[in-house]
Symmetry: C2
């Protein structure tokens, strides 16, 4: 066989590649057998595809997983994790002993891959995620890192039904990402039975070609053909390549091969299967090392010159402050990148786009790709800010959830929050976003009320761990803080306070202004109330809430969000440890809004200053009598 | 012009059609001008497409919007609502006076269409929703109603980037939905600038053809050509048709036509624009009536014979009880349909598929389409149960949110909830689903703990309003209720109670069993605790919680979900009205799980019986001392 491998590679023979494939199958059988669960047959179908990739085409330094020149291998069909772990064993990165800890408590070899393993960039297991994340990495390689690493995504055939895959196919085709290769393991069987297209490789090829991809159809068990297909992908210019590989699920073991009802389980007779596959092997692959490379950020880091706004001056929309602050952050730091879902004129990322076009990524109206591309870029060390309407971030909920499992560091910004947007109506209103973002593991949730606070938080969030969310508003709000005020993550601001406060209004974002106006109305009537700006919705400033609770006896949350999972819940959670609880009242959007002006909307939802004041009067006069 | 209209139609001349298009433009300008906001230019591009459809091809009885033979028109580009309302005016359904209430408080003519208008089946405004919902309606027409109505979806070009569109394109192509027509208004301009493909109709056509669609490319302002295209769509058999119409955004008014920066706003000079468009008209269109039709459900309704399980007998997974109950419900009622995301063997909808194959819809791994198709079917009067893993419902979050705005009646079932699934790890664990589903406006959220309870709730949810969610588990749980026990929506069950209870454990689903075991452990130590099965997470049984709070002083929630937005929040919300609050403690999954056995997972998260008992001991001894 002519070597189709990398320059300087010691090419394996057909027999050696075939042997390696068998080893990966045996190890997949062994790992699932040891675990008593896991996806043996889905691993076996892709074993030859993986073997040839590892031996001849992947450039990866397993001793230096952070090497900037490394290729990136994403196993999008994450349930085939035994295959990936078998690959790691063949590469010498995982011992045989560790392989057999698969799926046991404490093992890094989880049921689906996660970055607990240093060679895994992102978690997979929710299908249809590998390719969109891979697009983010390939874009990084082309436009940010400018390093010739390749991104290899191994996908199942079932997951080609996911719309997120086609968002990525469209984007990769349009961007001409020739550093991206999609390997589709067409084993014809999904979880509950046959896939829609069976082994019709042409069905996949026609679709991908229509989106501008190069495609190669191949027998996924013919290692020579697979080798040539990878070489063809590597040499194809100006467009991404998809290798459509016809394979047999459970290949190599007659009892399960191409059979329905064999998904997601170990083989019944592992001993016999291993014998049929030729027994246990310990073949080692010397994986090609990457060429020298280093990550250079587009501009050097410098002084951060955040925009400032006059306290008490012209009102400013928090989305506008966000856009300006992001552009400033981009000037100070070369690692900042921005992605938007074709609404940059609304989210105000247009300011960043204008100043830093090379680090701005227009993702069009494809929110799953938008978030996934951000996840891919952060895996390469960039600091992405991903923006769209808060309402439309719900499109990417699964990607946000998985980003947390990927231990991703990602800034997410949702604009046009709440009924305060006015006439556009409920489809455009983020009224569930706080609930969604708070429930993401390890997330930070910020909701600024003025322009200076927004700017400070935009800068602060850049260096936090995990998924950090900033909620911005459409309309202009008063500037209530000076430009030198500091805002700690996990902090809050007490904006009104007397020793005679009858209760505490806890607000964030738009409702801070309503709460302040309500407090003024009430003060004129001799009713003193405390006002807390709870801009850090998660983590929450429990100490300030506890003090306010003790001193005033009642915490009234006022939020432009549905009653569930938002500010009211954040306050309640500060009392989740059994300490005495003050009275709690939630004012939130409990009706279905229609169209109306912003003021009418706030009034209709009962969260404007007059409604808040009325609620306080009722509480003070009727409920809190003591 | 030869009549391309429906049989018996009084065909409009080219001039009349052109005039009607101009009227729709003028009315769009007038409505947005009156409102001071709204999308004039996006309405103007599609005006001729809409005019020809209304005059010659739509079959619709505006006096009988519930006529089963009516065609269905979905304006997927919902921001072009002025065009839709102008169409309604032309059809005589909306007065000129009402047209000018556009976007004002209380008006049915919202910024984006909602079913507050009887002729609107589903809300739009989140792009990429119209086609997937239309697929559900077209499937209803073909497979359930067997009525030859057509589904017409008017889409923007920008939204073709949404993956949900391609899930629908794939499904419609594979199902050969020749009763479905997609009309793409290719006006080349998105919100912030040009679309990816500009006016390249071929780019769209190639993609759609690859998925098995018939396509027609047309000048969207040539009313004769548009007329022929619709006729071609109506006569095309065995596959859906997409009409790709090249149009000009803001067509007809030179100041805005084909200009960037004119998205989403009224025209600066409406008076001049109306004059340029030829002035106000009051042309009435006699819309074709549908042919006689009636909805017949597949089987007549009969006696409901729910499965029953022996209390104290063999453990049963709640997902299994769900599948059996759904099959039984399907036998009793012909209006029940089931949709699954290619995991019917896991969710157990496979039982329904076996008994009622004609009412079972395999949606493959495409969760947005899955939910959208259910929304489309309920708009036709069917009662869908939509099922996949709880974790993967996050893919369809935006569709669930919009379904609530659509006033949809939809059953949603998420299986494999929580860490209790065990080895598969976090990507497969629904740990955010309660937060997501509770924050959906008007939703019902149910989380049964045993098989008999599950069966009863599956039947009860069928007739509720709004989005109702049932959360099921993977593993087998003890049967703790008899088959005759009743479970009210909004109710709960007090499973342990003494006059000496030191606190109350509030649990649901899997954790009910852990709480009961903890109570038994504690009782043996002389610590009496109350146990409440809060199977109705929303609405919540506030009265029982209040009583337990008063009598025991402390409510400890135990949930297999992240701490935010779930059971803990549901309990806290029962105290959102200012009444005195007992102590509250949340035991939930606050760590990132890995792989482990179900028992190890529950222990690791601190929600197994031993951990719960330990927490109670600590509370009773250290915290609650009084």
């Amino acid at each position: 066989m002519p070597s189709e491998g990398l320059p300087g590679s010691s090419a394996l023979s057909v027999d050696e590649l075939t042997e390696l494939g068998q080893q990966l199958r045996v190890d997949s059988v062994r790992a699932t057998d040891a675990a008593g669960s896991g996806h043996a047959t889905s691993s076996m179908s892709a074993a030859d595809l993986a073997a040839v990739l590892l031996a001849h085409h992947l450039r990866y330094d397993f001793d230096r997983p952070d090497h900037p020149g490394n290729d990136h291998l994403i196993l999008s069909k994450g349930h085939a994790s035994p295959l990936l772990y078998a690959l790691y064993r063949a590469a010498g990165a995982v011992t045989d002993e560790e392989l057999l800890t698969f799926r046991s408590q404490g093992s890094r070899l989880e049921g689906h891959p996660t970055p607990r393993l240093p060679w895994v960039d992102v978690a997979t297991g929710s299908l249809g995620q590998g390719l969109p994340v891979g697009v983010g990495m390939a874009l990084s390689g082309k436009r940010l890192d400018r390093i010739p690493y390749r991104v290899w995504v191994i996908s199942g055939d079932s997951e080609m039904a996911e719309g997120s895959v086609w968002e990525a196919v469209e984007h990769a085709g349009a961007e001409g990402l020739d550093n991206l290769t999609l390997i589709v393991d067409v084993n014809r069987l999904g979880q509950r039975g046959p896939t829609r297209h069976g082994r019709d490789l042409g069905a996949y090829a026609r679709r991908l070609k229509a989106f501008g991809w190069h495609t190669v159809e191949v027998d996924g068990h013919d290692v020579e053909a697979v080798d040539r297909a990878y070489a063809e992908a590597r040499s194809t210019q100006d467009r991404p390549t998809a290798i459509l590989a016809s394979t047999v699920k459970g290949k190599g073991v007659e009892a399960v091969a191409d059979q329905e009802g064999q998904h997601g389980k170990p083989l019944a007779d592992a001993t016999a299967a291993i014998a049929e596959l030729g027994g246990v092997r310990a073949r080692h692959v010397d994986v090609h090392k990457p060429t020298a490379a280093r990550t250079l950020h587009a501009v050097p880091s410098g002084h951060l010159d955040l925009p400032t706004f006059d306290k008490g001056g012209d009102p400013v929309a928090t989305r506008d402050a966000y856009g300006q602050a992001l552009a400033a952050l981009g000037s100070a730091r070369g690692d900042i990148v921005a992605l938007d879902g074709e609404v940059g004129d609304s989210t105000r990322t247009e300011y960043f786009a204008k100043d830093h076009a090379d680090r701005y990524f227009e993702c069009y109206i494809a929110e799953q790709l938008l978030v996934a591309a951000g996840v891919g870029m952060q895996a390469r060390g960039h600091v992405p800010y991903v923006s769209t309407f808060a309402a439309f971030l719900t499109r990417a909920h699964d990607f946000l959830r998985m980003a947390a499992i990927s231990r991703a560091s990602l800034n997410v910004v949702g604009s046009h929050a709440g009924v305060a947007i006015g006439e556009d109506g409920p489809s455009q209103m983020g009224l569930e976003d706080l609930a969604m973002m708070r429930a993401i593991h390890g997330s930070t949730v910020l909701y600024p009320s003025d322009a200076n606070q927004t700017a400070k938080l935009v800068a602060a969030m850049a260096d936090l761990d995990g998924i950090r969310y900033l909620r911005t508003g459409r309309g202009k709000d008063a500037v209530i803080y000076g430009p030198d005020e500091e805002f700690a993550i996990g902090g809050s601001k007490v904006l009104r306070r007397t020793d005679d406060d009858r209760l505490t209004l806890v607000a964030a974002g738009t409702t801070v202004h309503e709460a302040l106006a309500a407090a003024d109305l009430l003060a004129a009537e001799g009713i003193a109330v405390r006002v807390v700006d709870l801009y850090s919705v998660k983590p929450v400033d429990a100490q300030t809430l506890w003090t306010a609770g003790e001193e005033t006896g009642c915490l009234v949350t006022v939020e432009d969000h549905h009653p569930e999972g938002g500010l009211g819940d954040a306050v309640a959670e500060a009392y989740a440890d059994g300490r005495p609880v003050p009275r709690l009242v939630r004012l939130a959007v409990s009706t279905m809004p229609g169209s109306a002006t912003p003021d009418e909307q706030l009034y209709g939802a009962g969260i404007d200053a007059e409604s808040v004041a009325a609620a306080v009067r009722l509480l003070v006069e009727k409920v809190m009598v003591r």
